[in-house]
Structures are given as C-alpha cells and as structure tokens.
C-alpha cells in the first residue's frame, strides 16, 4: 500500500507537521518576524482548527502587532476551545487592558483566579485593573493577598504604595515603596514613585536624588521634569535648566516643562548654587558623619527641607 505524500490531504493531521509549524511560528515570533509567525500559525490551524495553543500564539502575535481586536478574537476562540487555559485568560486580560476595558479585564482575572487562586501574576494584575477603575481599596486587598502568600514580591509592595498614595496615606505609601526598594533596589517604578512622593512632600533634595537613580535605569521626560523642579527648590538654576531642556528634548509637548524652563532661566541671574561632588545635596541630616564632614554643609542645610 502506498501513502499520500502530501500531509494536508490526509484525513488526520500530521502531528509532525503540526509541531513543526508551531515551532517555526514560535521561532519567527521570537525573532520579531510577525508575518512569518502568522503564516506558520495559519498552517497549524489549517491542520487542526480547534488547536487552542495556536490561537493563543496568534493572539500574542497580533497583540504585538497592535491588532488588538484581532488578538482579542484569537484569545476568545482559544478559550472557547479550552476554558481552563491560564495562558488564554492572561492573554485575554492583557488585551482588554490595552483596550482600556478594565471592568472586563478584572472579570477575566476573577475567572482565572477561580481556576488558579494562588496565581500571583493574576492577583497583581487584577489589583492594577481595580486601580485603573479607582477602586483603590479593592486593589490594596489584591496586593495584600499577594503579600500574604509571597512577601518578597516587590511589585505588590510598590502597587500597594501607589494605591495608598491615592487614598492620601503618604506615610503608608512611603513604607511600601521603601519595602519594594529594599526587596529590589533597581525597581524603576518604585524609584519613580519615591521621587513623586518626595516632590509632593516638598523635599527637593530627596526628589533629585531618586530622580537621578531612576534615570540611571531608564530616561523619561517626566523624571527630568521632576528633577528640574527639585533643582529649582535647591536653587541650582543651571542644573534645572539642563533638566527641563532634556525633558523637552524627549517630549517637546510637555507644557509644564516649558513653563518651568522659563522660571529656571529667570532664576539663573539671581541664584545658582553649586553642589560640587555631593549627590545628596539638599538632604542634610544633623548628626550624620557624612554630613559632618561635608564642605558645603551650611549651604546644604540652608536648602534642606
């Protein structure tokens, strides 16, 4: 008996070819070749139309290509085939987040958490969705569930801090950000939140210090803007001008930075303090041995608030 050579013409799909297509699609996706990935997924779905993994992969590829509606349809199709797929629910929720459909996103996480009640990722993302819906207490409850299960998860602490800040609990927020930074000292979001909190509390020296730390990880116009405000508070007009210039280079539409730049330039003639080699300028702490040895401590004490 002779077999047909073309697998596509067989009654049953060729498992080998299906696996090969999925591997090729995954490889193409990892290499950034969205078109190639979709072509391979199409081959796999032609062989096995009810294949949830292929629909999920297609959803990820489409989401990366910004075809959010297409991605949503792919994840929904995957979940129709397999309602218990954790990856399917996570993908669906992520697309709903991108579409800013936070309520449905939160419901997706609820469904996922019914299946996997100890999914840390789902709790944190549900908290973030509730935060967007301005349900800060609900968000905090989600983060506390995570902290109870895994207290070393820095993002749960950071997000809890952000929610507490929205509720006006600055001291509680500061404790959470500190905890997040203790667990992960390079946590960009926590650094940025620490900076915003110090800026809000009127501590320009600390705000500049944390802005600098965050900028070492990643540049953002908002960070440069807040850093510039801090330098104005410390009467370092030249550094303020530089910071606002950089903020406007990164985002020329940042109106606040434009206004602040004018202020900094106007200030330049009147005051421009020089911090020398002191990264911590404006954070004077009485009795600290480093501050006691500082050559510019009188100037630092003057601007520390």
């Amino acid at each position: 008996m002779t077999l047909q050579a073309e697998a596509g013409q067989r009654f049953l799909p060729s498992v080998d070819r299906l696996e090969m297509s999925m591997h090729a699609a995954l490889r193409a996706f990892e290499q950034g070749d969205a078109e190639g990935a979709l072509a391979h997924v199409a081959v796999a779905l032609n062989l096995k139309p009810e294949y949830d993994a292929a629909w999920i992969l297609q959803g990820h590829v489409l989401r990366k290509g910004a075809d959010l509606e297409g991605a949503l349809a792919s994840f929904e199709r995957a979940l129709k085939i397999n309602d218990d797929s954790e990856e399917g629910w996570m993908g669906l929720a992520a697309v709903l987040h991108d579409l800013r459909r936070f309520k449905e996103e939160s419901e997706a996480y609820d469904r996922l958490l019914e299946l996997h009640p100890r999914s840390i990722e789902a709790w944190i993302d549900k908290g973030a969705a509730l935060h967007e819906l301005k349900d800060y207490r609900g968000a905090i409850a989600c983060y506390e569930r995570v902290i109870a299960m895994r207290p070393e998860v820095a993002s749960a602490w950071n997000n809890k801090g952000a929610a507490l800040l929205r509720l006006g609990d600055e001291a509680g927020a500061a404790r959470c950000f500190d905890e997040a930074l203790h667990l992960d000292p390079d946590f960009y979001d926590a650094m940025a939140n620490r900076m915003y909190l110090f800026e809000k509390q009127g501590h320009p020296g600390e705000a500049v210090l944390w802005a600098d730390r965050a900028l070492r990880v990643r540049e953002a116009p908002e960070l440069w803007y807040v850093k510039g405000l801090g330098h104005i508070g410390l009467r370092e007009s030249m550094l303020a001008v530089r910071a606002f210039d950089r903020a406007l280079e990164l985002n020329p539409e940042l109106k606040e930075a434009k206004a602040a730049l004018h202020r900094a330039k106007a200030m330049h003639g009147a005051a421009d303090l020089y911090r020398g080699v002191y990264e911590c300028f404006g954070t004077h702490l009485a009795g600290d041995p480093g501050c006691e040895e500082c050559e510019i401590r009188s100037r630092c004490r003057e601007v520390t608030r």
Partner: protein, 365 residues
Amino acid sequence: MSLPSEAEVEHADWPSLKRICESLGLNPKGRSAVVRMRAMDHLRRRARTEPWSAGRGHIAALLNRLGFPDLSENVWESTIRLNAAAPWVGLGQAKLASGLLGEAKKSFDRAVQMGDSSAHLHAAEALAAGGDFDRAVQSCDLYVAARPGDVRGLAMKAAFLARAGYAEEAARILQTTSELHPEIRGLARTIGTVLLRADRPEPASEALRAAAHADPRDIDAAINRGASLVLTGRTREAIGVLREALEVDARRPEALNNLGVAYLRLGQRKSGAVNIDRAARHLETPRILLNLAEIQETEDQPEDALGSVGQVLRMEPKDSEALAVRKRLTPKARPRRTAGGSRGAAAKKTSARVRKSKSRKDPKA
C-alpha cells in the same frame, strides 16, 4: 581585588565605609546612607553576570583613542554622575586630547575630590603637557603620599623630573623604586638611560652594567652601555660590549652605528665605515645618515655624502647639521677673478665628527 560582601557594606561604620568606597573607585563623600547605597549598588552590578556590551563609558574611551576627543567629551559628559569618579577622569582625558589643559585639570581635580587618588597622575600629565613640570611633580607627590611606594607614581615622577632637567634626582627616585620593587626588571636600564641622556656617562655605564648583569639578553641595555663607554673614553671595552650585543641580534642598527663610531675613535676607519654603512642599510635615521655622510665626505665622495644629507633633509628639513654639511659640499659658483689673483686658499677641511646613536635617543657627543 576581592569585593567586600553586601553584609560588610550594610554594617560598615563611617570610616570603613569611606575606605570601601575609595577602594571601589566610588565617591566617598555625602550623607552616609547615600554613600552606603552607592557601594551597595556597585556590588549588585558587579555580582550580576550580564553579557558584556559596550557602555557609554567604553564608547567614550574608544572615541578618544581613535582621535575624536570632541565626540568623546560629549559622550563622557552624558555619563557623568556624582556617584563615581571615573567619568571625570575620562572627561579630563578627552579635554587633554583636545588641548584644553586647564579644563582637563579641573576634571581631574573633581575626580580627586571624589577620592580617586590616581587622578593626581592624570592631572600631572596635564600639567606636564603644559610644560609645568614642577607642579606635575607635586601632583605625583600627592599620589605617592596616598599610595606610598607605588611604582606608577614613582616612575611618572622620575620621568617628569628627567624632562625638567633633574636627571640625577630622577635616577635617585628610580633607584629607590628599584630597591622597593626588586621584582621589576628593566629599572636599572631606565636609570642608565636617564643618566646617559643627562650627560652622566660614568654612572650611566655602572647602572647599565647592572642591567646587563641582571639580564644578559637585554640588548637595549648593552647598546646604551656601549654608548656610555664610548663617551667615557673606554673605547675598547665599548667595542667588546657592542660586539656581544650584535651576537644576540646582528641586525640592530644602533649597535652597528655605535660600533662604527667606536672603531673610528680607534682610528680603524675601514671597520668604522663598514659598520655605519651596514647600520644605514638596516635603518635610515638622521643620526646614522649624518655619520655616513661625514665618512663619505672624508673619503672624497661628496656626491654620495650629498645624497645622504638630502635623505636627512627629507626626514627633517630643518636639521641644522645636515644643512651645514649640504652648504659645505654644494659646489659654489666660481668667484670672479680679481686683479690680485685668487685669494682663496684650499677650502679648510673639517675633521669628520662622527656621533653615536643609542637605542632610545641619539645623544650629542
């Protein structure tokens, strides 16, 4: 150097913390919590095994090496933070390469303020580039005060002293360095060379003898020793030393030239000419070519001598010695005969002055 543990940094008292920062090349100044955070950041970064990729600091340093100091300066400026001294040193180097000596000095001073004592040496370089050797030496002293016995600091100080004309002082410092670090080979040769350049052939010969004794295959020491022996009048001994050097490497033009000079001193013109001619075949330096030209002149080969001098002037168009030889050898237009007949006697023949060359620098006899 082994890194301190995170626990050590976490619990270090203030003096220890400052010491740790200095040893890690970090700025030790500021509020203690900030300094501690700086050291912890450094340890975490070092502990991570990330694949290497060129950072902005690497790119800036390479740009300077490739001859783009302006671009390097811009990149260094973008890397500057107050937590580490190294970018200030890099910025200073870029400014130095741009010829902005004052600005370079300021950058190095900033690094010094942050506790990087090696920046004193960079500052010394900037000062020396501006011809201020006294302050360059002072800068080296500040570095050596922070790191007593450091070879780099002592060697740079000796080099600046020698350039300022204090060869004996330089040799004395190199001698001290040699005593402190007997494991470093070649210091005796350096001492000898410094003394030789300072026209002190007698002690130079002694130092070079010690160098040759320590390493019989140190051909540079042997060549310079030969030169110093010629200068002290111990010509036969010099010939022996130079012939031994040529047994190690028969193609060293400095050795051939110096041997030729030594033979000429003994009146063995043929041997002298052969060796200098061989030296010129291997390497055409102005010194060797001038020596060859003078031999050719004394052997009544003015055209060959003019050719050799022409070659020197192609390399160094303002070489006064070459210009003088050319002037002497170029046939002059016949002067108009006056009624009183020819006044000129035969041109006065100058005795050929043949000079020695060394492996490092051509000395004046």
